[in-house]
Amino acid sequence: MEYTAKDFKKGQPRWCPGCGDHFFLSSLHKAMAEIGVAPHETAVISGIGCSSRLPHYMATYGMNTIHGRAAAIATGCKVANSKLTVWQVSGDGDGLAIGGNHFIHANRRNIDLNMILLNNRIYGLTKGQYSPTSPRGFVSKSSPYGTVEDPFRPAELCFGARGHFFARAVATDATGTVEILKAAYEHKGASVCEILQNCVIFNDGTHETVYSKEGRAKNAIYLKHGKPMIFGENNEFGLMQEGFGLKVVKLGENGITEKDLLIHDAHCEDNTLQLKLAMMEGPDFPIALGVIRDVEAPTYNDAVETQIEEVKKAKKYHSFAELLETNDIWEVK
């Protein structure tokens, strides 16, 4: 059956005008329609926070649960019924602070979840405290003199937890967002999509350099598997390896041509280079967008089902009555 974005839409979002969540929601509707899984076979599970309101605007099954637990709840949902396509939606506070433990373990176990991390580097719903992705020195209501702690970088956390899929998009970039959401769906296993988004009220301009199309042309690189790493307003720059690091080169300078550039390999098991790409930041490097890592690995939910099938074949008892008979039994007459 063919679906349109409308089939996944419900209600009137209550986010602030200009909030990145609006852009993301619309991309998610569009991606789901293109993916084509029926709304009733889809579950969207969120925690708490501005972005976690999202399930209320979905015409699918869903839950807007408690703070930080979305990944754990989604885990149970997927393992109990693997036929469902499960999307887990969290903000940076929900996913990486209170829910950090569930985030890393969902990645480690490789549960087949599409895990969306809407990163605006701020607690919006509680009105403006720094989050675990706010940069060091960040001034907020709870850090009036600036934070004295380093942030998490979501990709680093994902890779450190042995994550097999990581992609990044900017909320205002519908094409880029839809593309990584579809790739996340296609990937079997935990798929982390970091969405860079603005909070117009409490952290306006946090992703300023890549929020507009022009900005992205200048300050971002779209990585595509099998393609050379070229970027710039006129595709005039590229990435090369230098020692253990990366370097930005200008095509044509020092005789460098496209052939000298790195080719993106999202499927490479070794995540060293992928991590380097994911960790790039301005002004010296472009911010990497697109599917950065996409490596096949056995999923937890498949393995659970396979094991159940194997044990069913190996064991002779398949009902409660038969289970009883496996014990030492005596008879009183």
């Binding site: 869903g62 807007n64 408690i66 885990t75 109990a80 069913k312 009902s319 014990n327």
Partner: protein, 612 residues
């Protein structure tokens, strides 16, 4: 001529170093006794240390078996026979022996260093402990095991693993038990290692023969005939295993997948162990990253249409309470098992208390009524788990099932249940004719929200932790609606149908009504029996359904002149009853020792109340 005395009941305590196999010896002895139709009740007493040094006082492990001609309700306060496999066991376990108990010791394990490790000051350990040598069967067990196995080619170190079987053989002689049952048990247990089975059988026989050959020096042989028999097929089952079986049975009856999200914690982990074995029944277990995820993943599984269970002990409940709360407001079925242990915090992890009752009833934010059941014995854990699952599924609510370390680790003879005789479990699936008009908080005639499981077309909906509008299911902060939803959730729980509480004993004319709940049933019943045998008029009302309380609660509690609520906490159940029954002012018996009640102490305390 061997004189055979008939006994009503006898308590045997096997004790030794953690590695001496006391649990196995005790287990086989109870199985043999149960097989001939004796009533049994067992209690394993594990050391709290992770790996105590061999022979040390903290490394002693015990297993107590109570067997009776009639019904026995507890593993017994003190033992008639104490087996002490080393000096440390004698030192620490002698306090569990009756004044006239027979003591069996392995004299080979009372050497100089053994005595030092057990903090004996002299070589004359019996005198030091004031034990009458006439009551002691002092036997060189280690040497006799070596002799018995000398021609088998087993290396001497491995031989020592069979010392427990010698003790078992000797005890079997004392109580005139049929060794063939033990032999069959071992052949089955070591089916893949017949040499080990054979060695153990040899040693049991040697222990039995030793008893036989030296009877002039030993206590006379005792026999326990079976008086009351309920015909049927039986197995020995611990409370934790029975709980796991109850969940399996309920899932099968309801036609649902069983899902357990859990995190290892003493003394509840055996439920996770047991359920994770039974994948051939489709049981799915997820060992989570923490207690929070244990409960949260179960709730996710419940949403997805499983019978979802999360198992833990008190400290884990602290962490699960937020997701339990979510289950309340989302009105999804979930069973939360709390195998209670000593608290607060890490407290006494291997010991037993009833101190989490108020946590189960009230330990959450907001108005969060939740049904609470408390299993009353190891075998009752099966029914309690089944009933908790049935309530959760039929009333779309989280349910707390309380057991405790004592009944979870203790065992009893379990009459194999016939599932066809158990009541059906009918979750309130949303009827197909509601397609198009249904909203998520629409309720059936019992005030229960319908269940629409993801995957079903036409019933997509969003649940969540925010208050919802009763009619539309949308987020609502409307004050009237919140008040209404709070009352609807409360009414749903209040209206759950539970059986009346039964009054046992002198129900018409008791001078004292004993009231208890959960795992203390056996001890309270035994105390009542003992008092009635002495001519007192006593009754017992023991509660399994705590919330909601049985309809006849007030009538029962207010009927008797004197009522004592006995519990292993500071009075939580008594306080709860007082909030539910106007004018109810009970006497209280409270003990928080981490140990089961002692029947003698109960009898003394209750007798004092009667005589006041």
């Amino acid at each position: 001529m061997v004189e055979i005395k008939e006994l009503e009941d006898v308590v045997v305590r096997f004790s030794g170093d953690s590695g001496d196999g006391m649990q196995l010896a005790g287990n086989i002895f109870s199985t043999i006794s149960a097989t001939v139709g004796n009533s049994i009740s067992t209690f394993p007493d594990y050391p709290a240390d992770i790996r105590a040094p061999q022979g040390s006082l903290t490394g002693v492990s015990g297993f107590q078996v109570h067997i009776g001609a009639g019904k026995v309700y507890t593993p017994g306060d003190q033992c008639d026979v104490l087996i002490a496999m080393n000096a440390a066991a004698l030192k620490t376990q002698y306090k569990f022996a009756k004044a006239n108990a027979t003591i069996i010791i392995d004299t080979d394990a009372f050497g100089k260093s053994d005595l030092e490790k057990a903090a004996f000051k002299t070589n004359n350990y019996l005198e030091e402990m004031n034990i009458d040598p006439d009551r002691v069967i002092a036997c060189p067990i280690t040497q006799m095991v070596k002799d018995a196995l000398s021609d088998t080619g087993i290396d001497p170190k491995a031989m020592l693993k069979s010392r427990n079987m010698f003790a078992l053989g000797l005890v079997c002689y004392l109580f005139d038990r049929d060794l063939n049952i033990a032999f069959n048990f071992l052949k089955e247990k070591f089916a893949k290692k017949p040499a080990i089975a054979e060695a153990n059988i040899k040693v049991i026989q040697a222990g039995f023969d030793y008893g036989h050959n030296t009877h002039s020096n030993a206590t006379n042989v005792r026999r326990i005939e079976t008086k009351e028999k309920t015909p049927g097929r039986y197995m020995d089952i611990t409370g934790n295993k029975a709980t796991a079986y109850g969940f399996i049975a309920a899932a099968e009856k309801a036609g649902l997948k069983l899902f357990l999200g859990s995190y290892p914690i003493t003394p509840a982990t055996d439920v996770l162990h047991e359920l994770s074995k039974h994948k051939s029944l489709g049981v799915t277990t997820v060992q989570c990253e923490d207690e929070i995820a244990g409960c949260a993943s179960s709730l996710g599984a419940s949403f997805a249409g499983a019978l979802a269970v999360t198992s833990t002990s008190g400290p884990g409940i602290c962490l699960k309470s937020e997701a339990m709360n979510l289950a309340v407001i989302m009105e999804l079925p979930l069973v939360i098992l709390n195998v209670q242990r000593g608290g607060p915090a890490t407290g006494l992890p291997t010991k037993s208390e009833q101190t989490d009752l108020l946590q189960a009833l009230y330990g959450r934010n907001g108005e969060t009524p939740m049904p609470v059941l408390a299993a009353t014995s190891p075998t009752d854990c099966f029914d309690a788990a089944y009933e908790a699952s049935k309530i959760a599924l039929e009333y779309m609510t989280p349910v707390v099932l309380l057991t405790d370390a004592y009944i979870a680790n203790g065992s009893g003879a379990f009459k194999l249940p016939n599932l066809t005789e158990y009541p059906a479990i009918n979750p309130p699936y949303v009827p197909q004719e509601k397609l198009g008009t249904w909203t998520p908080y629409e309720r059936n005639e019992n005030g229960v929200r319908y269940w629409a499981i993801p995957g079903r077309e036409g019933f997509t909906h969003i649940l969540g932790g925010l208050e919802k509008d009763n009619k539309t299911g949308a987020i609502s902060t409307d004050p009237e609606n919140h008040d209404l939803m709070t009352r609807l959730r409360q009414a749903k729980i209040d209206n759950i149908k539970v059986p009346d509480v039964e009054v046992l004993g002198d129900k018409e004319d008791a001078d004292l009504l004993i009231v208890g709940f959960g795992g203390t049933f056996g001890h309270l019943h035994a105390a009542m029996d003992e008092m009635r045998a002495k001519g007192n008029k006593v009754a017992l009302a023991h509660f399994k359904f705590i919330n909601p309380l049985p309809k006849n609660t007030a009538e029962v509690l207010m009927k008797y002149k004197k009522v004592v609520v006995a519990e292993q906490n500071m009075g939580q159940f008594a306080g709860f009853l007082r909030t539910k029954v106007d004018g109810f002012v009970p006497r209280q018996f409270n003990q928080v020792k981490g140990q089961p009640f002692v029947v003698n102490e109960l009898v003394q305390a209750f007798t004092k109340i009667i005589n006041e």
